[in-house]
């Protein structure tokens, strides 16, 4: 049985579906192979091989500093905003090499929601309209309809329809985070990356976002990084466990939580460390 820890000594040809892909029957949306990430001279991610199934929720768990956020940021090349970083390996989005796609095109297809809600200092409406104005040059009524549609998709419309022209900062933290999701959804991404989207939110706001993810997966592929194992268990169809820059195990969420094949995974999940 292949495992991540052993991939470095395995011949290249067997890398790709190291994770018993016979059980993953779905079409992979993103395929990552031999991914290494360097920050300066430090190797932050090592030999990551992973297929993210389409129209499913994939959770990435692991202790702080294990590289899961860094991994997420390679998928839309957000790491490029940091100096001194270097990536080797391959990431395919629908079979296309993400490093050869124009980065602005890539980020339109692969949206991202951040750890702390980061609405722009503009009105609620303008926040959602931002990507639409720039990417699709919509105007007037068509734009307003698109904004409403995005806010409905993020299940925020009913709460903000009467204050569309107030500052986004007047919303609560949970509402701001759903506004950021609406803003990302407005440009119709194929993949939505979420980097610990609930870490700054209370349980009720968290539950709303989790419900939302369930609704959204029919429309796009979701990859969520989370500190919270219960959250991974609740929302994810697939879960990957990162440790010290390596992907230790990737499988159906049930399998990861009920009978993980690796000792480290079991130790982490049962709370023996991390």
């Amino acid at each position: 049985m292949a495992t991540a820890a052993s991939t470095d000594i395995m011949p290249e040809t067997t890398f790709h579906h190291a994770w018993d892909n016979s059980r993953i029957t779905l079409e992979p949306k993103i395929e990552v192979s031999d991914l290494n990430f360097y920050y300066g001279a430090n190797l932050v991610l090592q030999d990551i091989n992973l297929s993210v199934p389409g129209n499913q929720v994939t959770a990435l768990i692991g202790p702080s500093g294990c590289g899961k956020t860094t991994f997420l940021r390679t998928l839309n090349r957000m790491y490029e905003t940091m100096r001194n970083t270097r990536v080797t390996g391959k990431i395919l989005l629908d079979g296309e090499d993400v490093f050869s796609i124009d980065v602005t095109q890539l980020r339109r297809r692969v949206g991202m929601v951040f750890q702390k809600p980061n609405p722009f200092p503009k009105s609620v409406f303008e926040n959602v309209a931002y990507g639409l104005r720039i990417n699709s040059r919509l105007r007037g009524g068509v734009l307003a309809d698109a904004v409403e549609r995005s806010l409905r998709r993020a299940v925020l419309w009913e709460e903000v329809k009467d204050k569309l022209h107030e500052s986004a900062y007047s919303l609560s933290g949970g509402q701001q985070q759903r506004l950021c999701i609406a803003r990302a959804l407005a440009v119709n991404p194929e993949v939505l990356l979420l980097d610990e989207p609930c870490s700054a939110l209370d349980p009720i706001a968290t539950a709303k976002i989790e419900d939302l993810l369930f609704l959204l997966k029919s429309q796009c592929t979701i990859v969520i990084v989370t500190h919270n194992m219960q959250q991974a268990a609740r929302v994810a169809d697939y879960t990957g466990f990162f440790l010290l820059g390596k992907l230790v195990e990737f499988d159906r969420t049930e399998t990861i939580f009920k009978k993980p094949s690796r000792k480290e995974t079991e130790d982490y999940i049962t709370g023996r460390f991390g």
Partner: protein, 282 residues
């Protein structure tokens, strides 16, 4: 133990007294200057001072309408020349440059703002006055514009860098190019600060005299267009204050008061800009 404690108390009291005294001295000096200006300037200020040209030497009365307009035109030129360069240079420094280039720009800007203003005047003299063969508003505006650049660069740079990087990332993650992210999210978020910094830089050069002495020079008449020498408030204050005529010296006080009111108006505008439009930001 108790000796130590009373010693500490004594030091505390002494320091409180000394720092308080210095603060009071600073406030007193400023209030004294203000009071003096308002008292003497106010007495000599009248309608004809604001609307009339200077009278020929020997006649009393007349005003400085040409100098007021001249200062306005000089500041307009300084803004047109200095603010765009400072603003775009600041944007480059904060958003686009590498570490070394940013350091170089900041260091140069700090050096430039420390250059004595008369040296800037000589520079503008060499650059504009000598080729044109005469003094002009243009030369004065260029001299003041150069002095506006470093302060505008520094304040723009500083306010842009204070915009949280999460906002930049939010825009970039939507597939927006870096320049558009800066122009549509980062710059608007910092806009009030950036505008404030530019206006304060202009206010600071409004009272400069030395760089105007041999660039804009002075003029006892209106100065049409941009290529003639012009009167300006600071140079008029200088000329009139050292003159032997009582009436001129009175008018110098009035001119100083007008210059002060101009600064006050600019500062109030800035305060207003800072307080309004806060709604979207916090």
């Amino acid at each position: 133990m108790s000796a130590r404690r009373s010693w500490r108390k004594l030091v505390n009291a002494v320091m409180f007294f000394i720092t308080g005294l210095c603060a009071a001295a600073a406030v007193f000096i400023l209030l004294f200057i203000l009071g003096y200006l308002v008292y003497f300037g106010g007495r000599s200020l009248n309608w004809s001072f604001l609307t009339e040209l200077p009278k020929p030497v020997g006649e009393s009365g007349g005003g400085m309408a040409n100098a007021i307009v001249g200062t306005g035109k000089l500041l307009l030129l300084a803004a047109l020349i200095g603010v765009p360069i400072g603003l775009l240079g600041g944007i480059y420094t904060a958003e686009f440059s590498g570490r070394i280039a940013a350091w170089l720009v900041r260091y140069t800007a700090d050096l430039l703002s420390g250059v004595p203003s008369i040296v800037i005047g000589i520079f503008a003299y060499t650059l504009v006055v000598i080729p044109m063969r005469h003094f002009s508003i243009l030369a004065g505006g260029i001299a003041l514009g150069i002095m506006v650049i470093p302060a505008t660069i520094r304040s723009t740079d500083q306010f842009l860098r204070s915009v949280p990087s999460t906002l930049r990332e939010g825009a970039l993650a939507l597939g927006v190019s870096y320049w558009r992210a800066v122009a549509t999210v980062v710059l608007p978020a910092a806009l009030r600060g950036v505008i404030t910094g530019s206006i304060l830089a202009l206010a600071r050069v409004a009272g400069e005299t030395a760089p105007l002495l041999f660039t804009a020079f002075s003029n006892r008449y209106w100065s049409p267009g941009w290529s003639q020498p012009t009167a300006s408030l600071p140079v008029m204050i200088y000329t009139y204050a050292i003159s032997p005529y009582d009436d001129w010296r009175r008018q110098a006080w009035a001119a100083a008061l007008i210059l002060l009111l101009l600064m006050l108006a600019i500062n109030i505008t800035v305060r207003y800009l800072l307080s309004s439009g806060k709604r979207m930001h916090s």
